[in-house]
């Protein structure tokens, strides 16, 4: 079920009311969440509910056994069972065809043509998200950082919690699971702020991301038809599309959780104002980057194993992160670019500091923020080309075209900036992105939702109506089809 669909518009109010009717009784409430979550997921394809159920049962029992077992070998075996089942599903559904294609391509490099066809496998929506979430539970118990739960119902609800089931935030059991043991009282203000956050999320998704997608898809799906400036505009718009798409989903998920009394972790924190790539990854998809930090980077030795191993660890983490996003070389290269830049950033830290001091770039003033912000945005955008391109060849063509076919005159040429757009659409996207920047700027200084709550009822209601009407009028849906959230494919 998509958050931006009519089905969800009917599902949510029903679930919300029933939820608060049963909220006082923990068991009933958790059972209700479980049923609602399975219904939410099964709406797309009920067959894949078995995968979630198997993951849930395996990790629940592995967790319990891990806690009781002291022998290291036995504990490792148990952990391996959890890893084998969860990663097994993930690898089979997500990477089988990728491995087959890579295998065939490698032989082709040596002039050998293999007659192997790919399998007809449907990728279960959100498998990467719930697999990582449930894995963190067993790993934390293995590390003795978490006690297992004895409540299968609460654990089942934790694994399948519908607000964040298909695209995160990837919650840790230590943060989310205990919330299933609590009872919640209906808090009007909390629910209202949750609803507002959901509305913001929908605005970002339907008004900005899906509208920008019209331009981006046109250029990236017809690379040969466009040139340098078109590529640049498309890539910049993609940067905003993916941010608004994914952070919009996270806002809806967090808001949805909040309306039910749950606190989900923050997933985005204005990433495009970052002054370094390290900072960018502290602000972008926070739940995933911290997951990789805790369960891949640190187990590999982190930064405590010498300079070169640290760089290698960084690189490995980002290549794996690229693979997590998608089973294609483009995603691996996207991860590798981030890994390499982060290595350079880390390795050149002292040198950069000296140079910046001499040039006066070390101060934290607006012009420096803007300067570094722009550089990081450009680097991120170049990497996004690989993330979005349909193939490596397309990605290279776009990168090459951006630098060799750049024609400044075309920057203001209607035929370029209106690709896939009518002129009003361009204005709406531009204005919405500007509004987003202004909103995030103020939101960093003071909580925007609290600020809105301080205003008069007329202002507040007008504001709410403005958001709803904007979504109805300026949102992309209907004939142009409801766009799935980009991260659903991961």
């Amino acid at each position: 079920m998509l958050f931006n669909s009519l089905d969800f518009a009917i599902f949510f109010p029903i679930v919300f009311i029933l939820y608060w009717i049963v909220a006082k009784h923990i068991k009933t409430r958790n059972a209700f969440i479980l049923v609602a979550s399975y219904l939410f997921y099964g709406w797309w394809d009920w067959r894949f509910l078995f995968l979630i159920a198997i993951s849930t049962l395996v990790d629940f029992y592995v967790g319990k056994r891990l806690h009781k077992t002291e022998a290291n070998n036995k504990r490792k075996q148990l952990l391996l069972i959890s890893l084998f089942v969860n990663l097994g599903f993930l690898i089979y559904f997500k990477y089988t065809n990728f491995f087959i294609e890579t295998f065939v391509d490698s032989f082709r490099l040596f002039g050998k043509q293999l007659e192997v066809s790919t399998l007809n496998i449907i990728l279960p929506v959100g498998i990467s998200f719930y697999t990582f979430q449930t894995l963190s539970y067993t790993i934390d118990i293995y590390r003795k950082e978490l006690k297992p739960t004895n409540d299968l119902l609460a654990f089942g609800a934790f694994v399948s919690f519908f607000p964040q089931l298909v695209a995160g935030p990837i919650e840790r059991a230590s943060h989310l699971l205990p919330q299933f043991y609590k009872t919640y009282k209906f808090d009007y203000k909390l629910v209202k702020s949750g609803l507002l956050l959901m509305a913001f999320g929908l605005f970002k998704k339907m008004v900005i991301a899906d509208r920008a997608a019209l331009y981006v898809n046109e250029v990236y799906n017809n690379v040969d038809d466009y040139g340098g400036v078109g590529y640049i505009y498309a890539t910049i718009l993609f940067a905003f599309q993916i941010y608004c798409d994914f952070s919009g989903y996270s806002d809806i998920a967090i808001g949805l959780g909040r309306t039910m009394g749950f606190d989900l972790m923050k997933n985005f924190n204005s990433p495009y104002i970052s002054k370094s790539l390290t900072e960018f990854w502290r602000r972008w998809h926070i739940s995933l980057s911290t997951w990789f930090r805790d369960y891949v980077y640190i187990p590999l030795g982190g930064s405590k194993v010498g300079k070169f191993r640290t760089y290698a660890n960084l690189f490995i983490v980002f290549v794996v992160s690229g693979m997590w996003h998608g089973a294609a070389m483009t995603f691996i290269i996207w991860g590798a670019i981030h890994g390499v830049i982060l290595m350079i950033e880390k390795g050149s830290y002292k040198l950069r500091l000296r140079v910046f001091r001499k040039l006066g770039l070390h101060k934290n003033n607006f012009s420096n923020q803007l300067f570094f912000g722009l550089i990081i945005f450009i680097i991120v955008c170049v990497a996004w080309v690989f993330f979005r391109a349909n193939s490596l060849a397309d990605a290279w063509q776009i990168i090459y075209g951006m630098f060799t076919e750049f024609d400044a005159g075309k920057l203001f040429d209607k035929n370029t900036y209106l690709i896939g757009f009518k002129s009003n659409e361009f204005k709406v996207v531009g204005l919405s992105i500007l509004l987003l920047f202004v909103f995030e700027y103020f939101h960093r200084r003071f909580n925007a939702i609290k600020y809105i709550n301080l205003q008069s009822a007329i202002f507040r209601w007008s504001f709410y109506m403005f958001i709803v009407l904007s979504i109805v009028v300026f949102g992309v849906y209907g004939d142009r089809n409801i766009q799935e959230f980009i991260y659903f494919q991961f």
Partner: protein, 486 residues
């Protein structure tokens, strides 16, 4: 929780109110289709005596202003392109929510025409197969629209139900949007629609006529299908429930087309008559049987098909014929004195038009022939037979009425069955005589109009000057001048 539910309900009610209020602005109001439905919605409740329902054939074929002037009635016309019998039924249902007509007149193009989408309008799943003309969107939110939408779009009901969803992307074309909004806000949709129909002043050329003569029309499909009978029966049920009379008629078709398919056309008309004859509150007026179709000068130029649309000339004649039929077959407000509200009310009445002492003007001449040439003064010009076009020129203005803010028209009245009124504003021409005699500001009071002679019938026409202020006030002057078309 209670607070949230109450506030949510109030919010939803408010937002729904706003959305439903702005809903009519999401369709393109600058088209005849929207104009037709809008004119119906703007009609005061329970004031219509006759409701006309039909396709574009009806829209181009009947002028309700003429009907009303001649029948002393108030009528509305609901037309949509390709409206089939099922849609006719839903539109009638909608109409009956607002009006209590004495007569519902249905134009039968969709019944008789040999097109599959009309004959087989309901598919095997019971859903409406016809989706191309989108008449359903012009209706406002309500039960009739909901039933129709459910039948046409069983899978996306909500999306298609509300224009603010279905046409929410309208803002992307700001020119179209502003045109639509301006039309909706500034013009009377009934008059707007009439002006569009009056603008049809071209006709089919001889080459097309040859194609009509030689085309082989698929005569097997001239039939009243089961789907059509199903909805005809539903319409008849409504007529009994709401106690109104039903009148079925088909606006005239092209004579060469009629001759080509006359046998089958008449058979299907007879089939319809037989079907309807069982009911005492239903009448059928077979105009084509009476006139045998009209010649090419009565039709807009179009592709060679069974779908022919009358032009303004055809519309005047058909409206007059239908008005005569209504007057002879129904008793409608005959004794009631009705205030003359429209141009047609005045022109079609036999009452003398009183002189307006501050309305000045003159018809100077037609086709280089002057009414006053030196000592030769006449009040009638005979247009030579060899001249194919008519150019009328003269001047008119009214003291106190800003020429730039008013519309000037002329009317040519042959008799009470044929009055030709010009469309839009007459071309403004400088006139040197007027400033000398009156004021300089009326220098632009000259006018000229030019059109094909074939758009008029043969006969003697009286000329009228018409001035319409931007507030809709109508001023008419009988020029006491005539033109004879031979």
């Amino acid at each position: 929780m209670k607070q949230l539910i109450i506030k949510s309900l109030i919010f939803i009610a408010l937002i729904s109110f706003i959305l439903l209020k702005i809903d009519p602005f999401f369709i393109d109001n600058s088209t005849w289709k929207a104009g037709s439905f809008n004119s119906f919605y703007e009609e005061e409740k329970n004031t219509s005596d006759i409701i006309f329902i039909g396709t574009s054939q009806l829209n181009d074929g009947i002028d309700t202003y003429i009907i009303d002037a001649k029948c002393n009635t108030n009528s509305v016309k609901i037309c949509g392109p390709g409206m089939n019998m099922a849609q006719t039924y839903f539109n009638l249902k909608e109409a009956l929510n607002r009006q209590s007509p004495k007569i519902v007149a249905i134009e039968t193009y969709s019944l008789i025409t040999p097109v599959d989408v009309f004959n087989n309008s309901i598919d095997d799943n019971g859903n409406m197969a016809l989706k191309s003309y989108k008449t359903e969107y012009y209706k406002r939110f309500g039960k009739a629209k909901q039933e129709e939408i459910c039948l046409i779009y069983p899978e996306d009901k909500v999306y298609h139900m509300f224009n603010f969803f279905r046409f929410h992307e309208g803002w992307t074309d700001d020119k179209q949007l502003s045109k639509s909004i301006m039309t909706k806000l500034s013009s009377d949709p009934k008059r707007f629609n009439q002006n569009l129909s009056r603008g049809a002043k071209t006709f089919i050329n001889q080459t097309q006529i040859h194609k009509f003569e030689n085309k082989n029309f698929d005569s097997d499909k001239y039939l009243i299908s089961d789907d059509e009978k199903l909805y005809l029966n539903k319409i008849i049920e409504l007529s009994r429930l709401y106690n109104f009379e039903l009148l079925f008629f088909k606006v005239p078709v092209l004579d060469v087309y009629y001759n080509n398919i006359a046998k089958r056309f008449n058979e299907s008309t007879d089939e319809l008559k037989t079907f309807l004859n069982k009911y005492d509150n239903i009448k059928h007026y077979d105009i084509n049987g009476e006139v045998g179709g009209y010649d090419r000068t009565h039709f807009k130029p179009d592709v060679v098909s069974n779908n022919q649309h009358l032009n303004y000339k055809g519309m005047i004649k058909t409206s007059s014929m239908l008005a005569k039929f209504i007057n002879s077959n129904y008793t409608l407000n005959k004794q009631q004195v009705r205030e003359a509200k429209t141009l047609e009310d005045i022109l079609y009445s036999n009452e003398k038009i009183e002189k307006d002492s501050v309305f000045f003007g003159d018809v100077s001449g037609i086709n280089h022939l002057k009414y006053s040439d030196g000592d030769n003064v006449t009040n009638t010009i005979v247009l030579p037979q060899d001249q194919t076009n008519i150019a009328i020129w003269g001047w008119m203005f009214k003291s106190g009425l800003n020429l730039k803010k008013s519309f000037r028209k002329i009317a040519l009245k042959k008799n009470n069955n044929f009055i030709f009124v010009s469309n839009g504003n007459l071309k403004r021409v400088k006139n040197s005589y007027v400033p000398n005699r009156f004021k300089q500001e009326f220098e632009q009071s000259g006018y000229s109009i030019y059109f094909n002679k074939k758009l008029l019938e043969k006969g003697k026409y009286k000329i009228y000057h018409i001035l319409e202020s931007n507030k809709g006030e109508m001023h008419i002057m009988d020029m006491q001048k005539w033109v004879i078309i031979e």
